[in-house]
């Protein structure tokens, strides 16, 4: 502590190096007459009541008083005092301290550095700086625990970078620039104390060898790899299509000719509905076909069904009316077929459990061979039975009575469009599909279609059956399931021959004889049924995931497109082929 008086004699510093001894330096201030050695004396005491003792060892050249270990008491407050030679105290205040608080360790020794690593491009490098604790500090016994501070700077810079080192005698310096020289020095202090000692001698770090060549190699390697990668990418992009074909062979999607799959995907049900129900063709119910195979969607059933609306009121007369009505409209000839006729099937509860009495609205021709003279059978048409060539028994599912009953077609594959209906009751189906008819309940259950056995000229008649019962396959023949549309086969016109009416071969399960419906090459208006909607609307999906179909809404009353379930509201649902993603949009 210094007094406010200018430059009176005072102690400049008291420092211990090893926590065992300490030194004090004084100055005479402005009292230059006291600068001679011995003019000022140092006295000290540790405890307040103990007497003042004089400095044990003077170093007058330095104006220093050295206290050796015998005269050093740690953890005790020590006060020193300057007195004049004649023992007159010049300063009232004493300079008091505790020895452990004035410890400033010596700087570390043997400072050295080693190269740790160089960056890949040779611009930066890391070094480890190592040193030893000062000899004066008894670190080995643990009397003093030292912490260090490493400072380094670029040779031409004025700012030091400071790194604190708590323990250990080494420190890594990162990111030094290769071309620059660095100066490093270290100082030490006691742990948990704040006073630093002096700086060590500076060392200079500079990377002598600039690794020029070695740094190029990784760069060249990286560039080469990049070039190869770019070439590969170019190759891939140029051959993208081929590779796509190779790696991801296209999965054949079901295709309904005449219907764009995009339309189905986009879910334009109204449009689809419209198209399928033949709305685009004007007054006829013919759907738009721009290909050879018309779609046979459904076959409207049974005019005699009491569940029907008033459209089909009667029995065979109704069917006849239907047939007649349909014949009245003209249709474009497609693929040798003059008409497209759709049969919309309906589920009839009343006929449940009554398989043998069911009338087949479906034409079912029982001729195994495509005979152009095969007649189509219509329910309620006694003459239909006569039309069977070879006297083959008609489909037992055909109605034996006059009442046309809907025939349960189970496991029907897909739609076959009935292009025409003969006045005799035969249904002319457009070629392309195979019909699978289940003629008996026993055979119906668990029957799987065998599409692969279909001969090309056979068709499949897709029966869209409303299944209000919804219990799928039962013993009841009336529970019809929707068939999966497999595909369409084009029946060449010449194979059909000149028939009265277009006929469609129905390939059923193994027990069943394929029915064959021949197309009618010369349609007459009287022969052909009025256009019925080719596709039924899937009205709902029951709990067994069977589609409950409804015929499309009638385009016009004259078109005789009878809904399957007129009582049910017709929702704009996609008719015809149901893709799985469309199925998901149909709420059961």
């Amino acid at each position: 502590m210094t007094s406010s008086a200018p430059s009176s004699p005072h102690f400049t510093a008291c420092v211990s190096r090893d926590q065992a001894t300490f030194r004090c330096w004084w100055s005479e201030g402005s009292f230059h007459n006291l600068s001679q050695p011995g003019a000022l004396r140092v006295f000290y005491r540790y405890k307040k009541n103990s007497p003042w003792k004089e400095c044990p060892e003077y170093i007058h050249s330095n104006k220093e008083c050295f206290f050796d270990s015998n005269h050093t008491t740690i953890w005790t407050s020590c006060c020193v005092q300057l007195r004049s030679h004649d023992n007159v105290t010049y300063f009232n205040t004493e300079h008091c301290f505790s020895v452990e608080n004035i410890v400033r360790p010596d700087p570390p020794v043997a400072v050295n550095w080693t190269l740790l690593g160089v960056s890949p491009y040779g611009l930066h490098y890391d070094v480890i700086v190592t040193w030893d604790p000062p000899a004066s500090a008894d670190v080995s016994m643990g009397w003093m625990s030292l912490a260090y501070e490493v400072q380094y700077r670029r040779w031409n810079s004025s700012e030091w970078t400071v790194v604190e080192v708590q323990g250990g005698t080494q420190q890594t310096l990162y990111g030094l620039n290769v071309e620059e020289e660095y100066e490093v020095h270290i100082r030490s202090r006691m742990k948990a104390f704040t006073k630093f000692g002096g700086y060590s001698d500076s060392i200079f770090i500079q990377l002598a060898n600039y690794p020029g060549r070695e740094s190029i190699f990784p760069v060249a390697l990286v560039l080469g790899i990049l070039a190869v990668v770019i070439l590969l990418m170019l190759l891939l992009f140029s051959q993208q299509q081929r590779l796509t074909l190779l790696l991801l062979p296209p999965v054949p999607t079901p295709k309904i000719k005449g219907i764009d799959s995009e339309m189905l995907k986009k879910g334009k049900f109204e449009e689809l509905n419209f198209i399928l129900s033949g709305g685009g063709m004007g007054s006829s119910c013919t759907p738009l076909f721009y290909q050879d195979e018309p779609l046979v969607d459904c076959i409207e059933l049974d005019p005699l069904d009491p569940a029907d609306t008033g459209d089909k009121g009667g029995q065979s007369s109704e069917a006849q009316r239907l047939i007649g009505g349909r014949q009245a409209s003209g249709r474009p000839t497609v693929g040798g077929l003059s008409h497209t006729l759709s049969f919309c099937d309906e589920d009839d509860d009343s006929v449940v459990g009554d398989p043998p009495n069911q009338d087949a609205l479906w034409t079912l021709l029982t001729t195994p061979s495509p005979s152009p003279t095969s007649a189509l059978l219509l329910p309620g048409q006694p003459e239909l039975k006569q039309g069977f060539p070879g006297g083959r028994d008609p489909d037992p599912s055909l109605a034996h009575d006059g009442a046309p009953r809907p025939q349960a077609w189970l496991n029907t594959d897909f739609y076959a469009q009935v292009s025409d209906v003969m006045p005799s009751g035969g249904v002319v189906l457009s070629p392309g599909q195979q019909l699978r008819a289940q003629e008996s309940t026993a055979a119906r259950e668990g029957q799987k279609e065998k599409e692969e056995e279909e001969p090309e000229q056979q068709f499949q008649l897709v029966v869209m059956a409303a299944d209000p019962v919804g219990d799928g396959y039962t013993t009841d023949a009336m529970n019809w399931q929707t068939g999966v549309v497999n595909g369409y086969h084009t029946l060449p016109a010449e194979s059909v021959g000149d028939v009265i009416a277009p006929s469609v071969a129905v390939k059923s399960a193994e027990d069943y004889q394929p029915s064959y419906i021949l197309p009618d090459a010369s349609p007459t208006p009287a022969r052909y049924l009025p256009p019925v909607s080719d596709y039924t609307i899937v009205q709902e999906v029951d709990y067994q995931h069977s589609l409950i179909l409804n015929p499309p809404p009638p385009q016009a009353p004259a078109h005789q497109c009878l809904p399957l379930h007129p009582l049910k509201p017709l929702t704009p649902m996609p008719v015809g082929y149901i893709t799985p993603d469309l199925l998901g949009s149909i709420t059961p």
Binding site: M1, K48, S69, I74, W75, S98, M141, T194
Partner: protein, 226 residues
Amino acid sequence: GWSFAWLGALCLVLRTPTDTVRAAPICDNGQASCQVLSLADLFDRVIQHSSRMHGMSNDLHSQFEQYFLPSRNHISNRVNRNCHTSGILTPNGKENAQRLAGEELTEVILKLLWAWRDPLWHFHQSMAHHDDFNSFSSNKALVMGDLVHELRTGVEKVAEKMQNLGIISNLVNGLRSPEQLLPSPVRPQWSLMNDYDLLFCLRRDSNKVQSYLKILKCRIVPENDC
């Protein structure tokens, strides 16, 4: 010949070197999960603890100084700072401490540590009521109390182990009787100290404990550097 070789090997194994610091099982009650620590390891642990205690007391003291007493120079050179542990005779230098016997040095350490149990608890209480002293320092005061307690327990274990190994004779005072350790006038004295003096004394005493422990270790567990 085979049995002689076996006996010879057995003798070699059983003949313990002069190193008295061979690990002796601490857990005599047969606990399977008990970990056997050597005396050197125990010393290292308590010395680490004492370093931490000293560092924390230093932080507390400097924080207190900065926060409450900006005019440092005037205060820190006060001579008449009587710590409540001033009554405990402690060696005041390295040589003095080295000259002290192991038992005495251990006793001094334990005395110091016991003397700080109550004052630290009261200091934490008084710090908790200071609104302006930040809670961090108040928590540090609480941590200090725990540290001192743990250090004391550790030093007691070291002393017990040393006694078991026969390195030191039994301590004059029992290990767990603080009332015997402290001279009676010392006890109420700490309540008279103000907080700043208490921190100053704590810092000083923790430095003492750390240094004494190091000297003790260097003497008991001889290492190449000691």
